[in-house]
Subunit: 414 residues, 2 copies
């Protein structure tokens, strides 16, 4: 069986990911950015609240501020009647005290007047002959948001390492801040190796040439994950050119992505040269399809990935192995790859035993759940095939023959 | 029951979303962008392949190119022996024809020589006394990627409306293109209304004041969805100021987000003024919590959302209702909100009947699946509470008492 994989010299995909996460260190290079640019970034220090939230007792409703005990028996059948002493809008410039036996008309967000302990929502009040009728007896505290009930001044607002989502941006803004101390974005170098590659924009392909697809595709993915990229373009399979490119990449970037030259061919210099230059190889080859020749190591403290040259393999390795490494560099708890969704196979699927397979699929939602349709044929060089997929299913290494209806885990391709 | 919602004058969340998607039109304003900036954009026209992919027959492996029939009986026990005529690297500058009775050493990606119809992978070959031994009999076509097997010149490469993910970027690059015609990003205006609001950066809050959290938080979310924002800052609850801000926003943006002033208070001018200015109200109020006072309409063909003033409500409405509208404006099939994940409640949960509730939760993964822990107390003004959540669970309107262990749908908060 020539295609039978010999697993013994290869790590499983899970083992490989674990070794990557053990080897990669957070960058912990802090910078201060305006709040408008802080979304998706990771907080570089603990933040302490400087103001209570809400900053003052305020009304959660438009209605009437009252003393609950004064309208205790009120109902639609037997409304309480009170004169309206004042009107309090949100943004009112000074405080007001509620006089006994009276009500104050109050708007959402306005400060609750001294003496009032409840708000009756407008829908349960009525104006009759210049008086207010109250059709409901509120409980003390009803529809009042208490000062500090959400956040208390002096408490930890957010711990270091928090991901700044729009909710965290709202929280920082609510404290009055315009900027935040966050970890810097990692810079990833992209080096596309291969004497067959020519740059996009070259009018015609010569004999045996293909366009460099990895450079643009890897940069596109990284950009969407909040990573800066330095594209070193195409380097032919020549030792001196490769050595120079690797050294420049190491000097400028926090992480190196080198595509091509990681297999067993006569011109596959990537691993050999990197080792000469000082790369500590953590692993070479993973029991995954596509992506088997993946190389990972550390060079002067920087993670280096030798990605397969085929764009489909390179992009799968990027999501499965590089993204978690970048999340760890960013100071974030690695959350990818996440195969949290489950569907059932729409047809029988056979695979080789011994390698976890990432299968390009079209997943359709049906009333009974997700139907997973494998795109055929699959191929690690078939970018057109991959573009027909909306999901990637993960089939375990030990599986061989899966029948229609078998549950499989998948993730959306975004 | 003063808190009982009266559903009869309100749309359900699903009905509201449907009305939004019926009313919003794609912008269809095309622009050409470099491939490096095209990720996440939507293709504005059908694309036709200009080159075959792969562009020529090439080897999928490092190994030996042979005529399959000449090594028919080869095995590890009885290897075939052939002289090696030449070495073909990827990027070879000219073609070679395989002579009868010989083999050509070939690298992954190199053009298959004329006359060869199979590649034996290196692992199944051996060099012995200057000859090559072949330990496996390949099938015709084995390890050869045929010209055009993925994409044929002249066929539709990608249809208009395709989302450009990294795979599509790879496909466009593989065609040699450096740019793409895509739909322009929508520009959304953000107007934060409320006399109680002061700008972040103001050193101290005055009596009854709060910082404007909606402006920065909405902009943060929109930026991550590929939408440009024009922030009109804070406008007090004064008719002339509001009218001017709304008109400027309408003149400059494709979609308007106005927070605050959409409830029933005496200074809630948003809806009234917008109607005076020509807004066609599609709906006001939705049976959802938080987010009930949501206003939606069309003004001079532009979608206008009146969002609740509380940041938590505003952000929930943004994901549930504004994001699908923006996806439609972008020319994309609306895919959000997607509550595709399911977990079970970690404790009993009671809610009011009549409104769908979006509940902030901490979801934990356990061997038996996802455990959903509701954060308490929930409150539409409690941004600190929302920051403790990693997920939002959707509880249907008709539900009232859910016991521990009840399955609920949720989505991650990103």
């Amino acid at each position: 069986m020539p295609n039978q994989e010999r697993r013994d010299d290869m790590l499983s995909a899970d083992e490989a990911l674990q070794k990557i996460l053990e080897a990669v260190r957070p960058l912990e290079r802090a910078e201060t950015v305006p709040l408008t640019q802080a979304a998706g970034r990771i907080l570089a220090c603990d933040l302490t609240a400087r103001v209570d939230l809400p900053p003052f007792d305020n009304s959660a409703m438009d209605g009437l501020a009252v003393r609950a005990e004064e309208v205790r028996g009120a109902s639609a059948q037997a409304p309480a009647r009170l004169p309206v002493q004042a009107l309090l809008a949100a943004g009112a410039e000074k405080g007001t005290a509620l006089l006994p036996g009276q009500a104050i008309k109050i708007m959402t967000g306005a400060p609750v007047p001294e003496g009032a302990d409840a708000v009756v929502m407008k829908e349960w009040t009525r104006a009759v002959n210049g008086m207010a009728e109250i059709l409901h007896a509120p409980k003390p505290g009803e529809h009042i948001r208490r000062r500090g009930e959400d956040v208390r001044r002096g408490e930890t607002l957010l711990p270091r390492g928090s991901l700044l989502r729009p909710y965290e941006i709202a929280l920082l803004a609510a404290q009055g801040w315009t900027q935040a101390a966050v970890w810097a974005r990692p810079a990833a170098a992209i080096v596309a190796t291969g004497s067959e590659l020519v740059s996009t924009g070259t009018p015609e392909l010569g004999f045996g040439q293909i366009y460099n697809a990895n450079g643009p595709a890897l940069a596109a993915a990284l950009g969407r994950w909040g990573v800066d990229t330095i594209d070193f373009g195409i380097v032919p399979d020549e030792k001196e050119a490769l050595r120079g490119a690797f050294q420049r990449a190491e000097a400028e970037a926090d992480l190196l992505l080198i595509s091509g030259g990681v297999s067993v061919g006569d011109f596959d210099w990537t691993r050999i040269l990197l080792e000469e230059l000082g790369l500590q190889v953590v692993f070479w080859k993973v029991a995954i399809k596509p992506g088997k020749p993946l190389l990972f190591g550390i060079w002067n403290g920087k993670p280096v990935f030798g990605l397969p040259g085929n764009p489909v393999s390179a992009l799968v390795c990027l999501e499965e192995f590089v993204r978690p490494a970048l999340e760890k560099q960013k100071g974030q708890a690695p959350a990818h790859p996440s195969y949290h969704l489950q569907g059932v196979l729409g047809a029988d699927f056979w695979k080789e035993e011994g390698r976890q397979q990432c299968v390009f699929c079209r997943v359709l939602e049906s009333p009974s759940g997700f139907q997973v349709h494998v795109i055929r044929p699959q191929g690690s060089a078939m970018v057109g095939m991959a573009c027909k997929a909306n999901a990637l299913a993960k089939i375990p290494a030990e599986a061989r023959r899966l029948t229609k209806g078998t549950p499989v885990a998948f993730r959306w391709l975004k």
